[in-house]
Symmetry: C2
Subunit: 325 residues, 2 copies
């Protein structure tokens, strides 16, 4: 900083004011320009740590993720959170726990030591969690999860709207007998996508038939195993709990000579990278908005978006490909 001051012919204090963009400091345009030129010329890099200490409170936001190694979902949350954090001059400190509670406590303690502005605590699928006690020591926003007592602000996907949207795509293509292969795992996705499916049927004047709601493990094997029952049910369309189930169902239907979408239309959920766009035929689906969950989490943490009464719901948009016809 001394070198910059010397090159610009100003005091070190002036350099500091210009570099830190201190409000209220009266510095002439000329001096400011000379400092900026000297900074560029000398490649001066302000020490972010020293800056943090002198200003009190860091420009870090912590992001705790539980599964960045197994699905791209956490990566998409990180991507959205990072873009939004940068927009507001913050840097993400990302830590991966792979669901290990000991690692989790350690990484959060690390973030607190670095005096993060706050923490985004995220899960790779939408679920209720017990908030780790250590999170009481800083501002926290839950991303893709929520606590039963609603004590912390949360940002989650709108599962019910997503379920309604998926079913509406099938109804719009003229289908009336529509099966729903739901997951066996108790979760908001399970109850709310079902509620959305019923909403859409009701709005279209189609009677809800409980026999058309099947259950399957939420992966390929589950969808494959459901194929027999789907064929027997006489439906012309299927809403699958997720894209992995749809992928397994494709295999099961194919083995039975059933064509997609000519004989049975299919829609999934997730818009999972590497799968949805690359099935035969490419799968129509509803996207889980992980990028937007990350971005919205940052906005709530920084007070840009208000934290509402209940969780903030982020819409799940349809992604149409070739499996509905």
């Amino acid at each position: 900083m001394r070198d910059v001051a010397k090159a610009a012919g100003v005091s070190v204090a002036t350099v500091s004011h210009v570099v830190n963009d201190k409000p209220g400091a009266r510095i002439g345009d000329d001096a400011r320009r000379r400092v900026q030129d000297a900074v560029l010329e000398l490649g001066y890099r302000p020490n972010a740590l020293a800056k943090t200490l002198s200003q009190g409170g860091s420009r870090f936001i912590g992001l705790v993720a539980d599964a960045i190694a197994t699905t791209p979902f956490a990566g998409q949350i990180i991507h959205g959170a990072q873009d939004e954090a940068w927009k507001h001059g913050y840097v993400l400190l990302v830590a991966n726990t792979e669901g290990d509670p000991v690692v989790e406590k350690d990484v959060i303690a690390m973030m607190l030591e670095h005096q993060v502005h706050g923490i985004l605590y995220s899960t790779w699928y939408h679920r209720e969690i017990v908030v780790p006690e250590i999170l009481q020591q800083t501002d926290t926003v839950l991303v893709d999860c929520f606590s039963a007592d609603g004590a912390l602000p949360a940002v989650v996907p709108d599962e019910r709207q997503g379920g309604r949207t998926a079913t509406e795509q099938l109804l719009a293509a003229g289908h009336r007998r529509i099966a729903f292969i739901n997951t066996t795992t108790p979760s908001p996705a399970r109850s709310d996508r079902l509620a959305g499916y019923r909403d859409a049927l009701e709005a279209a004047g189609v009677e809800f038939d409980t026999r058309l709601v099947l259950e399957a493990e939420p992966q390929q094997e589950g969808g494959y195993a459901a194929a027999e029952a789907i064929v027997a049910s006489g439906v012309t369309a299927v809403f699958c709990h997720n894209d992995r189930v749809a992928m397994g169902l494709y295999d099961g239907l194919r083995e039975r000579g059933v064509r997609i979408p000519a004989d049975i239309a299919v829609i999934g959920f997730d818009n999972q990278d590497v799968i949805a766009a690359h099935l035969r035929p490419p799968l129509s689906t509803v996207a889980l908005p992980h990028y937007e969950l990350g971005a919205a989490g940052v906005r709530v943490l920084l007070g840009i978006d208000p934290a509402g009464e209940g969780p903030t719901l982020v819409a799940c948009p349809p992604v149409l490909r070739a499996s509905i016809g």
Copy 2:
């Protein structure tokens, strides 16, 4: 810190010495114990930033990733790097560029401002890169990539051994006419997996037949399109450039009534989560060692592992499931 000193009946300097575990400071066991008790009781949390400044040089390692939102590969590199960094008392500062050179320069500048100990610069698939100039300002290890001039240490998968291993699995099952569906994308994976395929054939006394090497886009669509040529070639086994190609080939073979593995055995490459274990039949493959690449990168950066002459090669182990028979 003053509160801790008061509760323990020692000086602030003594607290600082105990908390920072300063070598050479002579402090009695009794005083040390009293400080530790007071720290626990008062919930004192040393300020990591102040500590960094007083000790010079941070405990941060930067990790630049180019695609954490689209595949789980970058997440696995992060997972391995984080585990290894923690083991040695370092914290990862992760930044995602999604391949944008402007973002890349910004995130690296941010890391330099935070005085990182060094940077791991990683790519989601193994390739040659031009090293961003700004990386000259700190120690850097390339992970899953390398520069032509070899100026920086690099850690990459052993593609040739991987290609040999994949082919050996098919040879061991008795196959002699083995096709290789290679990628159309020029890359170390393309040239070295082919070299490994030839190594294995030669070692087994099987003549290399250039007509059995096909090329395809490295995703499902490419594998599907190759099915006709595979059937026409009369091979009994296929080594696919990656799992996505194998997934597409499955569809193409199935349409032609060809059974896997009864009629044609298949092996992939990548061991891609969400796909490999969930195809019908589950896919035998060779794993890309992303976790180990991240961990080895940290070890090279910290000087625990030596940086060799050329890139450090990490082995690609076989993962056997049901597609070879």
